[in-house]
Symmetry: C2
Subunit: 396 residues, 2 copies
């Protein structure tokens, strides 16, 4: 993995070890390299082609017009948004979530950072499920803790989690188990039984369970994928990452939230104060509008992603050279082997940018066990996704 090139005569030689060691080979850099090539269908990122719906943008503009440009003093989030989050999640998951179970964050990434900062430090470790969005392991690494992957198995085209192997990877220094459900990149979803087992394990061991549920609303069946919130009691060691980016086409807004035990709310208020001092009031006004008036958009985004997946499976399913796993249960990605097992698909991804004018993320970024895979964002006009598939098939 690519890391910083450190010239000992520069200031960079004076940073702490976890920064000096940080991996820099992220998708953003890959996209940058391909910047000059024209007519590329760019399916690297986890981002749709949909501009944030007008009513959400209007809410932010009206907030600006009202002069809401001052600090939000409540570090857990604007009271109206905090209340709506409790109502929305309670109704969505069929539970009763207290208002003190959420903290608004400037983006889902910051929610990950705050969650991991709660328990990780040098000497500790976090066990995480692979393949996984690389920012998770990088964010663990930056705390000074060790990031320990446990790979999902791909058996007969089906991703599955071996809970025994996951639990066996934990030791006395393990402070957290981290996963995403629906998984970024592979669309695996934790089942209710698996979530229940994770909570049981946490109760026995005092290990935190961190569930990244950013793609929760993009589930093929039901209004949302199963949530850790449906299994963890008020004071279980359970944290859920969430945000507005994916379901409401608000990637650029940088607003998310974190669900946590009520007892931890004062700690997150303090940490929020000293790490980011809160989220913009007019951005929170947009987020509030998404919850209050944005259900149709979340459903449309779900449909867009599922139509995109259908297009991929319909086109690439015809190919003899690509063996697709079972249809993902959720998320906004197709994730499949492009190179023979054990071979790195990275060069193929780079070649496809110029040969097929399609941008895919190499699977090695998501974990060693999937270096032969590629990730393809499907949250686009299904015709564009189909066109990308046709280009791939022609080039392969």
């Amino acid at each position: 993995m690519k890391r910083l090139a450190i010239d000992p005569d520069t200031a960079l030689a004076h940073v702490r070890g976890a920064i000096a060691d940080v991996e820099t080979d992220n998708i953003a850099l890959m996209a940058e390299k391909a910047g000059s090539i024209g007519d590329v269908i760019r399916l690297w990122y986890g981002e749709s082609d949909v501009v944030t719906p007008e009513p959400i943008r209007r809410a932010a503009k009206e907030s600006l017009d009202r002069g809401e440009t001052f600090y939000v003093p409540q570090m857990a989030g604007h009271p109206a948004l905090a209340a709506e989050l409790a109502t929305y999640q309670s109704e969505l998951h069929g539970l009763s979530l207290g208002i003190d179970r959420s903290t608004v964050t400037p983006g889902g990434m910051q929610a990950v950072h705050l969650a991991l900062s709660l328990m990780l430090e040098p000497g500790a470790n976090a066990v995480y499920v692979e393949p996984q969005w690389p920012n998770i392991r990088h964010s663990i690494h930056l705390t000074g803790a060790e990031a320990r992957p446990v790979a999902l198995d791909l058996v007969d085209g089906r991703w599955s989690l071996d809970l025994d192997r996951l639990f066996d990877a934990c030791d006395a220094r393990t402070r957290a188990i981290v996963f995403s459900t629906p998984s970024n990149p592979c669309g695996w979803c934790a089942s209710h039984d698996e979530l229940e087992a994770l909570v049981d394990f946490s109760r026995r061991t005092g290990i935190w369970i961190v569930s990244d549920e950013m793609y929760s609303r993009l589930a093929r069946t039901g209004r949302a994928a199963p949530s850790l919130l449906q299994h963890a009691g008020d004071e279980d060691l359970a944290l859920c990452i969430n945000g507005f980016s994916k379901a409401w086409a608000m990637t650029g807004w940088r607003v998310g939230w974190l669900n946590h035990p009520a007892s931890v709310a004062p700690a997150f208020r303090a940490v929020t104060q000293y790490v980011n001092s809160g989220t913009s009031p007019f951005v929170q006004a947009g987020a509030l509008a998404a919850l209050q008036h944005g259900e149709e958009y979340a459903l449309a985004m779900r449909d867009r992603c599922m139509a995109g997946l259908d297009a991929v499976y319909e086109r690439l399913g015809r190919s003899n050279s690509i063996r697709l796993p079972e249809m993902p249960e959720g998320g906004m990605y197709a994730f499949f082997p492009l190179a023979p097992e054990g071979e790195d698909a990275r060069q193929a991804c780079l070649d496809l940018v110029s040969k097929a004018r399609v941008g895919l993320a190499p699977g090695g970024m998501f974990g060693k066990s999937t270096i032969n895979c590629v990730r393809m964002c499907v949250a686009r006009d299904p015709e564009v996704v189909a066109e990308a598939c046709d280009r791939l098939l022609a080039a392969l």
Copy 2:
């Protein structure tokens, strides 16, 4: 200092030490307590009474109208804002600052967090100048490092920094010296000689110098207070915190920036990716408008703060019970003893909320050496500031 109350039967008992120990007694909580009392002139916070100027708000609204609601892929900031920051700071400070010397951050607080995260970790320490904005020591504390205060001296009403004492407080585990100039809360400004001496010390010891210059534009004389950027070479271990909040009345926007050596830019790009994934494009559009068209507003804010200080010094200067230090050289605060030396002004602050209907921040929050002081924000309509002084005088 107030800390979290930890019930061993709750999830809060399972957080890392630096979180469990975090001080929670911040100004926000004090303001919250007084929330129900009517007609209070609230001078706790470092925030003006000015709504963000209309052209800046318009720029953000136009960005939203253009559909700029996607990720900004450049982790150092939108290219237009990054370029303008280099031009603006080069012109302001009479130097030639490369575009790779700045990273845009979601707020000045996040700039502090990212700066301190670059070199601090458990086992290290940071020496900081007191009195100091409490978030600085809390942010040091959250890294797991020790926060070591060195107090300014108040001699004949003049705040001054004893550099020998500051340097003597450093040891082999010291990774950074941190200060704010103009100082929040006391308005002390580092002189060019002092900044030069700090850079010299850094060159000899490999200790980072972190200068919080958030109030740089609110200097009584000149367009800006002396900046560390004017003394540190491209690869000196120098970091400057800055932001749009104070000079352009943009506290609620949550956008700031960090100046750093060019060699560290790739590290900050990676850290930005894994901590916050960047700042909103439409917020950056507002920030760009502030730099391009907002000079008159920054100057007006400076004048507002200086008029506020003049009002305080004119009114409270008449009192026999209050001994004001020399007029601050910059910033948006009056900071002065309200209780006898060694006595805590905290109770007086609480009493004054109901007795005088004026909200002041107790000096103990800014350091042990100033527990008898209070901080008063003056970035308000000077008539309101004068009224607050009259109320104080009547109550004392």
